[in-house]
Symmetry: C2
Subunit: 388 residues, 2 copies
C-alpha cells in the first residue's frame, strides 16, 4: 500500500538525527527500472527552496533513479550555500547507490526534497550518514519512508491504486502551508506502468490540477512543494494515457483527502462545491475565496452556518454572478436563496467533522470543488509555537 507496492521500487526510512523527536527523518525511494521515467510539479512560489531549484533541473532531464527526502529542515532561504548542500546530498546519494548496485547513478538523476523550518542550513554531518544508512537498508519499506517525511503530520499518508496488470503507489506529507495553485506538500508517486516522461507529465498535471491544487487549508503557499511521479515499466504493461491519468488522479485524490484530514488543528473537513458557474476558473476562484476567508473558517469552527460571511467572500471575486441570484446550502440546507435568507439556519447540524457548502452562482453550467479546513484554536496554537 505504498511507493514500494508497484514493481521495480525499493525504499527506506532512517533516523539521522535531523528531527529532535528522534524519529525517522531521511527517506529514499529508488527506481530499479527497467525504465527511469519521471515527471514533477513544483511550487509556484517565487521563493523556492534549494531542493526545488535542484529537482526542477533534474526532472527536465526526464530520468530519475532516486528521490532522497528529509524532514527536519526545509533548506529554503539558505542562499548559495544551501543549494550546495542539496547538490552534495544528490552527489552523495548517487555515489552510495552506485557502490551498492550493479548500475551507475549520476547526481543528475537524483531528485531531492526537504521539509521543515525555513531559513536554516541542514546539518550535513548528520544528513549524509543518514543517506548512507538509507541506501544500506533499501527494501520494501515504503511505510517507513512515509513516516520519515512527516513534520507536524500526526500519521503517514500512503496510497495504492490498481490498474490492469500495473499499479500506482504513493506517499505524501503535509499538514500546514497547504495552499493554492500548486502541489502544496511533498508527494512521491510510483508506478510500474510503461510510460515516457511526456505522458507522465501530462498525466501528473491533469491529476494535481483537480486534487492537490484544490486543497486550500490555510491559504499559505510553501517554498518546497513537490510532487514527483516515477515510472519503472517493470509490469511491462502500457496503459492508455486516460487509464494512467485516472489511476494517478485517484491516488492524488486519496492522498489529498488524507492531508486535509490531518491538517494542523482542524476540526472540520470542508468541501466547497461551486455550481452554476460561467466556467471552471470562476468556480475555482469562488471556492478558493470562501476557503481562504478567516471569518467563514472561524464560524465553521464555532458550528455556525454563517452564510452571510460566505456571500461576502463570494462578493470579493471577479467571477460572473449577480449578488441577488446566488443560492447557498450548508450540509444540504438552503439557508440562502437569491442572495437572502431562506431555510431556517437552525436546521443545519454542524456538529460532525464533514461539512459540505454548495454555492449555486446561477451563471452557467461549470462547477468545481475546493477543499479546506476550519480555523481553530489548535491551528493558532500549533503555528504560533512551531519554531520556538
Amino acid at each position: 500500500m505504498t511507493v514500494t507496492t508497484p514493481e521495480g521500487f525499493r525504499a527506506a526510512g532512517v533516523a539521522a538525527g535531523l528531527k529532535t523527536s528522534g524519529g525517522p527523518d531521511v527517506a529514499l525511494v529508488v527506481n530499479e527500472g527497467p525504465d527511469t521515467a519521471v515527471a514533477g510539479v513544483f511550487t509556484t512560489n517565487r521563493v523556492k527552496a534549494a531542493p526545488v531549484l535542484w529537482s526542477q533541473q533534474v526532472v527536465q532531464g526526464g530520468s530519475v533513479r532516486a528521490v532522497v527526502l528529509n524532514s527536519g529542515g526545509a533548506n529554503a532561504c539558505t542562499g548559495p550555500a544551501g543549494f550546495q548542500d542539496t547538490h552534495a546530498t544528490a552527489e552523495h546519494t548517487a555515489a552510495a547507490l552506485t557502490s551498492a548496485n550493479a548500475y551507475q547513478v549520476g547526481a543528475g538523476e537524483v531528485a531531492v526534497c526537504s521539509t521543515g523550518l525555513i531559513g536554516e542550513r541542514l546539518p550535513m554531518d548528520r544528513l549524509l550518514p543518514g543517506v548512507t544508512a538509507a541506501v544500506e537498508s533499501l527494501g520494501d519499506h515504503g511505510g517507513v519512508a512515509a513516516e520519515a517525511i512527516m513534520t507536524t503530520d500526526t500519521r503517514p499518508k500512503t496510497t495504492v491504486v490498481s490498474g490492469a496488470g500495473w499499479t500506482v503507489g504513493g506517499m505524501a506529507k503535509g499538514a500546514g502551508m497547504l495552499a493554492p495553485a500548486m502541489a502544496t506538500m511533498l508527494c512521491v508517486l510510483t508506478t510500474d506502468a510503461v510510460a515516457g516522461p511526456a505522458t507522465l507529465d501530462a498525466v501528473l498535471r491533469a491529476a494535481t490540477r483537480v486534487t492537490f491544487d484544490r486543497v486550500d487549508s490555510d491559504g499559505c503557499m510553501s517554498t518546497n512543494d513537490t510532487v514527483l511521479l516515477l515510472a519503472s515499466g517493470a509490469s511491462g504493461v502500457t496503459p492508455s494515457e486516460a487509464e494512467l491519468a485516472s489511476a494517478v488522479t485517484a491516488a492524488c485524490h486519496d492522498l489529498a483527502r488524507q492531508l486535509l484530514a490531518d491538517a494542523e488543528g482542524a476540526t472540520k473537513e470542508i468541501a466547497i462545491e461551486v455550481v452554476g458557474a460561467a466556467d471552471e476558473d470562476d468556480a475555482v476562484e469562488v471556492g478558493r475565496s470562501v476557503a481562504r476567508n478567516n471569518l467563514v473558517k472561524t464560524a465553521l469552527f464555532g458550528n455556525d452556518p454563517n452564510w452571510g460571511r460566505i456571500l461576502a467572500a463570494v462578493g470579493t471575486t471577479a467571477a460572473a454572478f449577480e449578488p441577488d441570484a446566488v443560492d447557498v446550502a450548508v450540509k444540504g440546507i438552503w439557508v440562502c436563496r437569491s442572495g437572502a435568507a431562506a431555510e431556517d439556519r437552525s436546521k443545519v447540524d454542524l456538529s460532525g467533522r464533514d461539512v459540505t457548502i454548495r454555492i449555486d452562482l446561477h451563471a452557467g453550467a461549470a462547477e468545481a470543488t475546493v477543499w479546506t479546513n476550519d480555523l481553530s484554536h489548535a491551528y493558532v496554537h500549533e503555528n504560533s509555537a512551531y519554531s520556538t
Copy 2:
C-alpha cells in the same frame, strides 16, 4: 473631539433596542449648513448591503443633510425587502428632521449606514422610533453618536484635526472584517471648511487610499464599508485642496490607527514597511501578502520572528524582486539579508504590542506601509462565537 466639533453639525446617539446589550445603537449626524456638500467611498465587495446601495445613490447627488447609522444589524443580503427598509429609514429621518426644523429635508439627502450581522432584517418597529428619538435629542453629542455605531469595538473612535480657521472631525467603528482595497468600516468625517463635492471626493479618495485602504486586519472585505465626508462651510474659510487633503488624511490616519489598536482579539499592531519597490503598487501588494498570511500572523502572536514565512509570503506576489536580493528586518534587526539568514533572530524582542517589519525588495525606490494585526486565540474565539 468628534463629528460635532466642526461648526454646523449636530449629532445624537440613542438606544433603540437593536443591540441586546441595551447600549446606544442609533446615531444621527446632521449638517446644518450653510453648505451640504458630500463625498463618499464604499466597499468594493460586489455583495453590497442595502444601505451601501442607497447611500451610493445619495452621494452621487452631491448633497447630504443627514447620516443615520445603526448597529445591531448590517441589513446585508436581505433582498428587496431590506432595501425597502433602508429607504423607509431615510424617509422617516427626512420627515422627522423637516418637522423639527425650519428647513425641508428630502429622503434623497439622507445617507444610511448599518453594521452588525449579515442576512437578517432590521427590526423596523424599534429602529424608526429610535430615529425619532435621535432627531429630538440632536446637539453636541458626537461622543454618544460614536458609541452608538460600535459592534465588537471595545471603545469609540473619534478624531479632530484643526486647520487655519476650520476643522475636520470624525468618528469610526470597526474591529473585524477590516480588509483591503476599501474603506473597511463605517466612518463619518465632518468639516466646516468650504469645499464642493468634487473637491471633497478628490480629498477623500486620496486620504483613504493611504490610510483605511492599507489597514488589512483579517483580509476579509465587508459588505457595508462606508466612509462619508460632509462639509458645512460654516467657517467661511476655503482651504486649498492640499490643505484639506492633509487634514482629512491626518484624521483618517488617526481613526485607522484606533481601528487597528482595537481589532478583534489582536495582541500586536504590525506595520509592514515595504521599501525598494519598483513602484507603489508592488509595495502595497507585497505588504498585503504578508499582512494576510496566517502563518506569519500566528508566528507573531507567538513572539516568533519567523522571517522565512515572511519571505514565503513575498514569494507569492507578482512584484518585481529577486528572491536572493530581499532583506527583512523585524523591529530593526536584519534577520534576513539577500534572501538568507543574517542577524541572530534571538535579538528580536517581540514581547511588546508594536511590531515593525521592514522588507527591502532592492528593486526600485518606491515604498508603502500596510498595517495589520496578529492572529490570536481571541480572534478565533470572538469570530467563532459572534452570531451564536
